[in-house]
């Protein structure tokens, strides 16, 4: 049935091998780019076929596993290299291959003339391969391979401009923070495997078997431990509090990389993982609360930082952290489908935004270069008025911005609203729900504000670039523009496959296709919930409409404020900064979290290690070792004196010995 599914990851892997091994000799950028993008396009075609086949099955039968070979077998442990095809993995491969292909295409023009052109595409293909492993793996360990693989590619691509120290640092930071998460992932895996094995004799890490045996798990207790461990893994990969600080730094990588890895695909892996194991997470109310609270806090916290950044990519980076927070909020309130839906719409509009910003940076960079200016091409304070220079980029960017801001009719609205409503009405968190909703709603307002601030600063007003450079600003080539248009289109219409029920009913009973499509994946959670507290939660249509209206209103306020501050009355932000210098400094410096981590963890760790080496290893241990050696030498120096070679000395000592022995026996 799904015999050719292996092609999906293998094609990009072949692309990686070709470009990685021979790219340097190939040299021709078109060939290299075509191989890389073509490979991913091939994956996209096969993904489409896979999805088509899956849809042709009845909704109960939409689960298939394709085994290739046994990977690690030892004792009770077994992990196969095998793929799981179900609605969730299908939607993921569609996103990864579809968005991935567009970004590959875009990169051909964006990376034109770069020294390591082949290296870039090799890494990008390797990333795509790993991402496919992550979402297709039918067991935890294969997922972990992809999980680490994408982290590795992220490291390599962040550090793509490795001659810059900041790039190297950022790559390392990303890798290490992800490793902290991986530590959690592994512990979760171990605990689950050990618990199910030792108490129920179920030794498995295969998702389908885990799902079938999930009824053996208790509520809370060990499941809380397991899920919290996994969630730690998710916070690393998906940049949530407390492990989010690597993502803004990751913007050191080329912009398409930010679009693909640090917005559309890799960073959503944590969300995917929770959705994949929803039947575990639903069994721990404590973990759900933690996830919901962390998600909401991250959404809000990152949004505040986003309001004060001047680097166009950094704004988008914090926006990504914030939007990921929404997805986790969805997971934490048990709205797995809504979370995955937001994952998808976010992939569309955020990829569009990043690619759009890339087009802007590219154009700015070229213009500044021509003018021999050393101004920062990413600083929005140097931009302005670009809408006439780059009309298509502007239009697509604006559409995506409207989508992320949550204006009705655009994709972001449907998914975000669904999450906010579920946050308010879910049966898991009692009175905490209002707070969760409130934080989400405020973050939505902030999102609308900082995104429109970005749009106004970049595309509206006067052009602040040096006049000499201004004439060199231009619209990007087709290869860059086409992906923008496609993604902007998806940002607009992508939401209509998941119209919330209340709206669907008004529109004449349109069902929420997306939710129905994902139903089989969350079957076990649904069953669990139908037993445990199905009667919790709120079902009030009027209230739902009311909240929807409120969140839209908040978004509009955000936009209005942004307009007021950055278009009609540009003096206010300056005055505001002058009035609250400390607040602005704190927000601008990301609340000093990096400094806090350095102070609390990194520096103590370094000095402690220095102490262990120079204090303990060298002085204590080697001191003891050399001390023994020295005392042996000293002692033998003493003994040496006794071997005088004089017979009389020996006779004396013999006599002394005899006396001692005799007196011992006599006195005894």
């Amino acid at each position: 049935m799904f015999d050719n599914v292996w092609l999906i990851p293998i094609l990009p892997f072949i692309g990686f091998l070709i470009n990685g091994l021979f790219g340097k000799k190939i040299k021709n950028e078109t060939v290299i780019g075509t191989i890389a993008a073509g490979a991913v396009f091939g994956s996209f075609i096969v993904s489409c076929m896979t999805l088509y086949k899956l849809l042709s099955l009845g909704s109960e039968e939409r689960l298939a596993e394709v085994k290739f070979f046994s990977w690690i077998t030892s004792g009770t442990f077994n992990a196969d290299v095998a793929f799981l095809i179900d609605p969730l993995s299908c939607i993921m491969i569609m996103i990864v291959s579809g968005v991935g292909f567009l970004i590959h295409l875009y990169s051909i023009a964006y990376m034109h003339g770069e020294e390591g052109f082949y290296r870039y595409f090799a890494y990008l293909n390797l990333f795509t391969f790993s991402m496919f492993l992550l979402v297709l793996g039918n067991n935890l360990l294969l997922m972990f391979v992809g999980w680490e693989g994408v982290g590795l590619c992220s490291y390599l691509l962040i550090g793509y401009y490795f001659h810059k120290k900041s790039a190297g640092d950022a790559g390392k930071k990303a890798f290490v923070m992800n490793r902290v998460g991986d530590f959690g992932f592994l512990l979760g895996l171990f605990t689950l495997f050990w618990y199910m094995g030792s108490t129920h004799n179920v030794w498995t890490i295969t998702f389908s078997e885990m799902a079938k045996t999930s009824h053996l798990l208790p509520t809370g207790g060990v499941v809380t431990v397991i899920t919290l461990c996994f969630f730690l893994g998710a916070t690393g990969k998906s940049a949530q509090i407390p492990l989010y600080t690597w993502l803004p730094d990751a913007m050191e990588g080329p912009t398409p990389v930010s679009a693909l890895i640090h917005a559309a695909t890799m960073v959503t892996a944590g969300v995917y993982m929770i959705a994949r194991m929803n039947y575990l997470f639903i069994r721990s109310p404590e973990t759900l609360t933690v996830i919901a609270v962390i998600g909401a806090c991250t959404a809000l916290f990152a949004a505040t930082i986003g309001t004060a950044q001047n680097d166009i990519k950094r704004v988008l980076a914090y926006s990504t952290v914030s939007q990921l927070g929404y997805m986790f909020l969805a997971m934490g309130v048990g709205a797995f489908g809504a979370g995955v839906f937001h994952l998808m719409t976010h992939a569309f509009f955020k990829a569009c935004l990043f690619l759009g910003s890339g087009a802007v940076i590219h154009s700015m960079h070229g213009a500044l270069h021509h003018a021999h200016s050393h101004d920062d091409a990413q600083d929005m304070r140097n931009m302005g008025g670009l809408k006439s220079k780059m009309p298509i980029t502007f239009a697509t960017f604006l559409l995506a911005t409207i989508a992320i801001a949550g204006i009705p009719g655009f994709s972001g609205f449907f998914s975000k609203d669904e999450i906010l409503w579920q946050a308010f009405s879910n049966p898991h968190h009692g009175s905490l729900n209002i707070l969760l909703w409130g934080m989400g709603a405020i973050a939505a307002g902030l999102t609308a504000f900082y995104m429109f601030r970005l749009v106004f600063m970049t595309f509206f007003g006067e052009c602040r670039i040096t006049p000499k450079a201004k004439d060199h600003l231009h619209e990007s080539p087709l290869v860059i523009v086409i992906p923008l248009i496609v993604l902007a289109g998806l940002s607009v219409v992508g939401g209509y496959i998941g119209i919330p029920k209340v709206i669907g009913e008004v529109l004449g009973g349109i069902p929420n296709y997306f939710e129905h499509y994902l139903d089989p994946v969350f079957k076990y959670s649904e069953e669990y919930m139908s037993v445990h507290g199905a009667h919790g939660g709120i079902h009030n249509i009027a209230l739902e409409w009311g909240l929807m209206g409120t969140s839209v209103l908040i978004a509009i306020i955000g936009i209005t404020v942004a307009y007021a501050l950055y278009v009609s009355n540009t003096g206010i932000p300056v005055k505001f900064v002058a009035a609250f210098p400390a607040l602005h400094r704190a927000v601008y410096n990301k609340w000093y979290i990096d400094e806090l981590y350095d102070f609390m963890i990194v520096n103590p760790c370094k000095s402690f290690s220095q102490f262990l080496w120079k204090g303990f290893d060298v002085i204590v241990i080697d001191g003891a070792v050399n001390g023994v050696a020295k005392s042996v030498m000293a002692l033998s120096g003493v003994f040496r004196l006794m071997q005088t070679g004089l017979l009389s000395n020996y006779a004396w000592s013999m006599a002394f010995g005899v006396v001692v022995m005799l007196s011992y026996f006599i006195l005894k």
Binding site: Y155, F183, F190, H215, L612
Partner: protein, 549 residues
């Protein structure tokens, strides 16, 4: 064919005999010949691999009388089983690579150097295949001598200190082991054991207190060799002073003597004592993992950093061994091989840049990736393997060790050890970044040449193994699996079996109860139905669907 093991062991010695007749001026002949000898040895050893039957028994056994001195009967008794098989292959595999690696680095006393390497090879293989404990001891001591000279003659500035330290450290342990061997033999001969074959002694049920002292002696000897914290300080010195080939052999093979000693001797001979000391040794292993990682992080010398990383890696091996279960033991065995491959490769890498720049200080480098792209790629792959990124060999071993440890009584130790994966990433990537990334601003580095054909040829087999063992480790596991399973069942002490039986016998009263509930689970509800687990029942019985209906 029947004495293929002896052939493999003594081919290098045969080579030594011929080396004597090659004039010491013709260095390339000496090198070429030695390389040929090690290569042939490797090819011959492949016959062992292909002829090996996947079972738990010793194979290719040769057992002939050797020395009979008074009450002591030593036999030339050798063989391989699943545990030693891969270590033998690893040895013969690493040797040609090490010979190749010193093609240019050693110009002085080439003949003596090659003789040392070949004697070393014989003693290493010999030790792995010895069934007779006395024979093992002979090889164990023999290998010290060539290594002593390799560090002492062809080493760096501080070589005398390092080589003395190495020698005395190991000697102290060996002597303890010798005393224990003799004592063990005395007890054995009273019990009617005719010779030194370790197989006889496995069945000797010793008094726990005797076991304890014997175990301490063995454990100390092997712990020094591993080396375990806090007996590790000879290693960084030995490594930094040793020539590249010395480091490679030391790290890749010789350290495995220590862990192998635990697996072959210390634990199966004295299982109860091993269980008793497991918490202590696991603690030292875990301290070693974290401690060595932290110390590695702040090293200024690349080679020293790699040396400390060895200590951390071998900590994982020790942890896996003391998990006393199949996964842990398999993971440890794999990790021994993996460490041989990836740390061997790391020392080669360090050797490459040392030969070019005659410095190993991290601060002397930076930005090499631009100048040496092939080197950079290989270095990166080896680094990732050392970190244990999935897809490379390092991951499989580490993972099995950790999962085995987690299932065993060493759960909390394992949790701490697992955090080692974070530190490994920190020190390796930080070092990699400082050496390879950044601006190429040191003028001396701007003229560096990328790897030449010889150097690439050395690295390629190692890199291939890194991926093969990472992607398809099952053939490696399959060969060792029966032996590992046998070992694991063998080291479950008799008293524990009894205790397990007692435990199984006691809760008869509860048995009826548990039968009832399990029946309910199996028959009362269809598969996949959300059954409320037992734990849940007591807290929320009201929402049981069946009762509610």
């Amino acid at each position: 064919m029947s004495n293929i093991l002896s052939l493999t062991t003594f081919l290098p010695i045969l080579g030594v005999l011929i080396l004597f007749f090659i004039p010491k001026e013709s260095k390339s002949v000496l090198r070429g010949f030695t390389f040929a000898v090690t290569l042939v040895t490797f090819l011959v050893s492949l016959l062992i691999l292909t002829g090996f039957q996947t079972n738990a028994e010793f194979q290719f056994v040769e057992n002939v009388p050797w020395i009979a001195a008074g009450p002591f009967v030593m036999r030339y008794n050798i063989g391989v089983d699943g545990i030693s098989l891969w270590l033998v292959i690893l040895t013969t595999f690493i040797m040609p690579i090490s010979v190749m690696s010193t093609w240019k680095a050693v110009e002085d006393k080439v003949k003596e150097y090659m003789i040392c390497i070949l004697i070393l090879e014989t003693s290493l293989i010999g030790a792995f295949i010895s069934i007779d404990m006395f024979l093992f001891y002979i090889y164990w001591e023999l290998m010290l001598i060539p290594m002593y000279f390799m560090i002492g003659i062809w080493g760096g500035k501080n070589r005398l200190y390092a080589t003395m330290k190495f020698f005395i450290y190991t000697m102290v342990g060996s002597l303890l082991m010798l005393v224990a061997f003799i004592y063990l033999y005395m007890i054995g001969s009273q019990a009617g054991i005719p010779d030194f074959s370790v197989l006889h002694f496995y069945n000797l049920h010793l008094d726990p207190s005797v076991q304890m002292w014997m175990f301490i002696a063995f454990a100390l000897a092997f712990a020094i060799k591993v080396p375990m914290f806090p007996l590790h300080t000879w290693l960084p010195d030995a490594h930094t002073e040793a020539p590249t080939a010395g480091s490679v052999i030391l790290a890749a093979i010789m350290l495995k003597m220590g862990t192998y000693g635990y697996v072959r001797f210390a634990i199966p001979l004295f299982p109860e004592a091993a269980h008793r000391f497991a918490p202590l040794l696991a603690t030292l292993a875990v301290i070693g993992i974290i401690y060595a990682a932290l110390v590695a992080m702040v090293q200024e010398d690349v080679k020293k950093l790699v040396a400390y990383s060895s200590v951390a890696h071998l900590g994982f091996v020790m942890l896996g061994i003391f998990a006393f279960n199949v996964q842990g033991m398999t993971g440890s065995m794999l990790q021994m091989l993996n460490h041989g491959v990836s740390t061997g490769a790391l020392f080669l890498i360090v050797g490459f840049i040392y030969e070019r720049r005659h410095t190993r200080l991290i601060t002397d480098f930076g930005g090499l990736a631009k100048q040496m792209p092939i080197f950079a790629t290989m270095f990166l792959i080896v680094t990732l393997s050392s970190i244990g990124v999935p897809g490379t060999n390092g991951f499989v071993g580490e993972f099995l060790v950790l999962i085995g440890g987690y299932e065993s009584e060493l759960r909390w130790w394992t949790v701490v050890a697992a955090s080692g994966v974070i530190f490994a990433a920190v020190y390796m990537l930080w070092m990699f970044q400082r050496v390879m990334f950044g601006e190429l601003n040191n003028p001396k580095n701007q003229k560096l040449l990328d790897l030449d054909a010889r150097e690439i040829a050395i690295m390629v087999p190692l890199l291939l193994l890194i991926f093969v063992m990472g992607v398809y480790p099952n053939p490696f596991i399959a060969k060792m699996d029966p032996a590992v399973k046998k070992l694991v069942s063998q080291i479950r002490p008799a008293s524990m079996d009894a205790a397990a039986k007692a435990l199984a016998a006691v809760p008869v009263a509860n048995a009826a109860e548990s039968n009832e509930t399990s029946e309910q689970n199996h028959t009362g509800m269809p598969a996949g139905h959300p059954v409320i687990p037992h734990e849940g029942q007591s807290t929320s019985p009201a929402i049981n669907p069946h009762e509610a209906k």
